[in-house]
Subunit: 140 residues, 2 copies
């Protein structure tokens, strides 16, 4: 096993975070902030979800998940429906506005990725997604 391979991944990951952080802060992105994106995406994919589940799935502290959920609600992106089984809990669901803005931001992001990966063979794009997924799976 070539140590250089790991070293390269190490460096490139560190740089990736830095670069993405820099982008995030450059305020060129639409309304939706980054932390909200993952939440909206999760809610979108699961239709209806409680705060605890969100927090667990996204490895956030419940307090953070709770705050982000509240922010989304405040923006009109999600609404709450009480959990009939548990008086303490509720489910978050996307509003129409939430869905719209989510898609808009998603398109924005994916357009960016398309630009960044311009000239890449589809094979590389597929492989990148795959390896990222694999890496994420290993991150537990």
């Amino acid at each position: 096993m070539e140590p250089h391979l790991i070293e390269s991944i190490d460096l490139e990951l560190a740089l990736l975070i830095r670069h993405l952080t820099s982008l995030k802060t450059s305020r060129t992105s639409p309304n939706l902030d980054r932390s909200a994106y993952l939440l909206l995406q999760y809610i979108h994919n699961h239709e209806s979800v409680g705060v605890k589940t969100l927090a667990d799935a996204l490895r956030l502290d419940v307090s953070t998940a709770s705050r982000q959920a509240a922010a989304l609600e405040q923006k009109g992106y999600v609404f709450r429906t009480p959990d009939p089984q548990d008086g303490r809990a509720y489910f978050l669901k996307l509003t129409d506005l939430g869905r719209e803005d989510f898609f808009a931001y998603k398109v924005f992001r994916q357009t960016r990725i398309l630009e960044i990966t311009e000239g890449w063979p589809d094979e590389d794009r597929a492989k990148f997604g795959e390896l990222l997924h694999k890496f994420n799976q290993g991150l537990r």
Copy 2:
């Protein structure tokens, strides 16, 4: 071009950031904090560097670079030598301690990556590094 490929990269990147952030905050890492790592690495690779150069290279605001440099100096990881050509500027160089702790942290990180990519063929490790590099190059 399969839209699904971009979508997958999009999701996996978002998750990656989230997961890595979660790790960062879990306080399982050694002394060196993450933001410092990139600085130390850059200084290590270039032996001697000014704040402006650091900031530019790492896409940080100079104020951030300046602060991080100051923190590193405070920790005894770097020292300053005046730039003979410019009375306003100085170069940052690694101390022995800086070098040691940098390597220790580097080993820690790379051990983690090794674990995460356990079972991966070398080919995949190489490809991952390569594609990350390529993606980073596109991020301008």
